[in-house]
């Protein structure tokens, strides 16, 4: 419990650090909201016009004044207003987040459902032809860029079969579950493909380590069935590196999968951040990055707590 509180107490410090870095970094990049809106036509503005627009976008003050203003808003639960959407930043993020969360969960489910059994199968058939097959497949999965896979899927479906999930308008899960699943399954497969490959490789090597441990030999000598040894005794310990890997991957996916969202035209968090950066929507960039950092910390905390559940010997926070 103390451990949990200590971890939670660090959150605000990390978030403030992240916010300062983002705040300064995005302002150091040349170009601003005015050039993002007007492009080269911004050169036609008189100094007075430029000042009026800078005041409109709230970029007429030095960065530390802007930061102070933003931080004061944050303490009141206000992440600012997005200049692109004309809405509070948090509202925009929360509109996009369900899709990103759902996509991340679906991809992880695909990765674990395919990856863990494949890894266990390969480990228990070590150095056999079937093990080689799984390893080659995992290698292909890991080395195929997801944009190649996404374009291949889209091309094959549209040119070969004349079908494609409805693109352009996304249906949330609670409005039309079937249509929602139809829209998300292909992106989830695209993301889950490489994820599953990583899970396969990690669970195979962890399983191989565990299978050579003394306690597994003991279990075997006591007459526990082969299946029992693998699933009840070996797998829980072999899962620890898989949990670590999945946690990190899941954390990344919660930050949005930019390329896959671009190709499948999904309005997720990744595209939101990218568009916000391109349009120099400072409030939105800051809000998104802060939100993503917060998610990442939560996922890390959950991963650490899962270790305890998997291996009672691990005591969090103890020296």
């Amino acid at each position: 419990m103390t451990y949990l509180l200590r971890r939670l107490a660090v959150f605000p410090l990390v978030l403030i650090g992240v916010s300062i870095v983002v705040f300064v970094a995005i302002r150091m990049v040349p170009g601003d909201a005015i050039t993002a809106m007007l492009g080269t036509e911004a050169g036609l503005l008189t100094p007075a016009q430029r000042e009026a627009l800078a005041a409109y976008f709230g970029i007429d003050q030095p960065w530390f004044v802007q930061y102070g203003r933003w931080l004061a808003g944050l303490l009141h639960g206000n992440l600012g207003i997005s200049s692109t959407y004309g809405k509070p930043v948090l509202d925009v993020i929360l509109e996009r987040f369900p899709l990103t969360l759902e996509l991340a969960l679906l991809s992880m489910i695909i990765a674990l459902v395919v990856g863990v059994p494949a890894g266990v199968f390969a480990a228990t058939h070590n150095e056999k032809f079937s093990d080689l097959g799984v390893r080659v497949a995992a290698m292909i999965g890991q080395s195929t860029p997801n944009f190649v896979l996404a374009l291949l899927i889209i091309y094959t479906l549209s040119a070969g079969f004349g079908v494609l999930p409805a693109m352009g308008e996304f249906s949330p899960l609670w409005q039309d579950p079937l249509r929602n699943l139809g829209q998300l399954i292909l992106p989830a497969i695209t993301l889950g493909f490489a994820f599953a490959a990583s899970v396969t490789r990690v669970s195979r090597s962890a399983m191989l380590d565990v299978l050579s441990d003394d306690y597994v030999r003991t279990a075997r000598s006591k007459g526990v069935s082969a299946r029992g040894v693998i699933w009840r005794h070996a797998l829980p310990n072999a899962l620890i590196p898989v949990v670590t890997l999945s946690g990190i991957e899941f954390g990344y996916l919660l930050g949005g999968a930019v390329i896959v969202e671009q190709i499948y035209a999904l309005p997720g968090l990744g595209r939101l951040v990218l568009d916000a950066i391109l349009q120099r929507d400072y409030a939105l960039v800051q809000g998104c990055v802060l939100f993503i950092a917060f998610n990442f910390m939560i996922v890390n905390l959950l991963v650490d707590l899962t270790y305890v559940a998997l291996d009672p010997r691990i005591r969090l926070g103890e020296q």
Partner: protein
């Protein structure tokens, strides 16, 4: 053999396709476009709704469907009526009178009056608005509204191109009441053929027909525009008939459209031009002979063929078809490496020099390829080019400061050469800092062109201007590309134009 196998394979896929569709849920079944709504897609969304502030290509394309200017230009770049039914310059060219269409109504039901026109132009001219197009209207001294249907612009000097500038959606007429309420840009209320019902930035726009539009009934009841950032995905969505009409930027994708039996590609040469901008304020581009050597060393057709698959045509500075000179008549438009080497040597750069060329990633999609071809061509005269590709905003920032040796650019064109080039090639041009070159000849030719009302004389003035500009070579004009739209074959009535406008979607029908 391979073709036979492919056909056999594909024919065998029909049945699995249905099964696959079922597996992917309802969403996988091709969405049948209802006859009344045009489903459209583009890869870049509009960035805002204020017609006086937006300059992004996609913003203009959206806003042209919602707002109307006083006049428009048609496919042959002739001025035609929009809100104004007629217009007249006074004999001294200093007074421009418009008669408004009494049927013109805003989408809030109010009639468009001369007060709205006056308020709109005053808003554009107000520095607090931040309207980029203000620079085109600085000759307006005052605006009179003798009656609700008449507007008189009093100009401080004869300004023929102002009429073309008024055809731009950046000079759209918005309700005076909305200006007073400060809601232009949050509510999109124009007098155009469509009303904006919903805008979800970077995702979707929903437009419905404006039943009160003075231009008559629209061909469809509405337009739904989806933002599909990847153009390959747009093509895929068109194959499955989810999308009826699409705007394409990438020539690589556009050239695939004619291979689909159910699709039609529309392409038209546009006014925008691809150019290698030299910076004549930086050595050695300060030397006329060095700039001319670069012009002679570049094979423009090869740049076009390699970077853009030959999709376009080589151009001189003027891209307006009725005014453009045949490029073969311009200085060094036929590649001449020997002459280039000779000029380099005369300028004292026989051993060449090193320079950096900047370009924006993906804007245009051909930028990097153009830079590479030019790099290899200039290497032949000893010019070592270092290519620096940057994110669009970073590029724009450097470009506006004139902070480059050379820049690959795709610059927008206008239907009038004065409006198109006064920003660069006049002494008072707002973008002189970018062009970094001006001489008395260019400045005086531009001033003459601005005041001249006789079309034949204007043409002669601008022909001389173009010839001189190509000869002093501050920039190396390369080519104009095409604007592409793709459509299902059951869509008819769309007229592509050199300005890229989608205004004719107002009369498009779906069979």
């Amino acid at each position: 053999m391979v073709q036979h196998l492919t056909r056999k394979l594909l024919s065998g896929m029909a049945l699995p396709g249905i099964a696959l569709a079922a597996m992917l849920g309802i969403a996988a079944v091709p969405v049948q476009a209802s006859a009344a709504t045009l489903h459209m897609a583009w890869s870049q969304d509009a960035t805002g709704l204020d017609p006086h502030k937006q300059t992004a290509f996609s913003s203009l394309r959206l806003l042209e469907l919602i707002y109307e200017p006083l006049v428009r230009v048609d496919a042959s770049l002739q001025i035609v009526p929009a809100i104004a039914t007629s217009w007249q310059f006074s004999p001294d060219g200093k007074e421009l009178t418009f008669k408004l269409d009494p049927k013109a109504k805003f989408q809030n039901g109010a009639t468009v009056t001369s007060a709205d026109v006056k308020a709109s132009f005053e808003r554009i001219l107000d520095e607090k608005t931040g309207a980029a197009a203000r620079a085109n209207f600085l000759s307006i001294a005052s605006i009179d509204t003798p009656d609700p249907a008449t507007v008189v612009f009093h100009l401080s000097q004869p300004d023929v191109p102002i009429l073309t500038a008024m055809s731009d959606v950046n000079a759209a007429i918005v309700p005076a009441s909305e200006i007073a309420a400060g809601s232009v840009g949050t509510k999109a209320i124009g007098s155009g053929p469509f009303k904006l019902d919903k805008w979800d930035p970077n995702a979707k726009e929903v437009l419905s027909a404006n039943k009160d539009w003075a231009g008559g009934a629209t061909g469809v009841d509405g337009i739904e525009i989806s933002v599909l950032p990847d153009e390959t995905a747009i093509l895929a969505a068109m194959r499955t008939k989810q999308i009826d009409f699409a705007l394409l930027n990438d020539p690589l994708v556009a050239t695939l459209v004619p291979k689909e039996a159910s699709l039609q590609l529309n392409r038209v040469p546009v006014l925008a031009y691809h150019v290698l901008q030299l910076n004549p304020s930086r050595k050695p581009m300060t030397e006329l002979k060095v700039r001319q050597a670069i012009s002679c060393a570049i094979d423009r057709q090869e740049v076009l063929d390699t970077a853009s698959l030959g999709e376009g045509k080589v151009t001189g500075p003027l891209t307006i078809p009725s005014l453009a000179t045949d490029p073969s008549q311009l200085f060094c438009y036929k590649r001449d490496v020997e002459k280039a080497k000779q000029l380099m040597s005369e300028a004292g750069y026989a051993d060449g020099f090193s320079a950096t060329v900047i370009g924006a990633t993906g804007e245009p999609p051909t930028a990097a390829a153009e830079a590479q071809v030019i790099q290899s061509q200039l290497a032949e005269i000893g010019v070592k080019l270092d290519i620096k590709m940057m994110e669009l905003n970073v590029y724009v920032d450097a470009w506006l400061k004139g902070d480059f040796d050379m820049a690959i650019a795709l610059n927008g064109g206008r239907a009038d050469p004065y409006t198109m080039y006064n920003r660069y090639w006049t002494k008072a041009g707002n973008l002189q800092k970018v062009a970094n070159y001006i001489d008395d000849t260019l400045d005086s030719q531009m001033q003459q062109g601005r005041a001249e009302t006789d079309p034949a004389k204007r043409k002669a003035i601008f022909a001389d201007f173009e010839k001189h500009l190509a000869e002093v070579s501050p920039w190396i004009w390369l080519y104009t590309s095409y604007s592409y739209t793709a459509q299902q074959k059951n869509v008819s009535g769309f007229v592509p134009t050199p300005t890229g406008t989608l205004f004719s979607l107002s009369k498009v029908t779906i069979q």
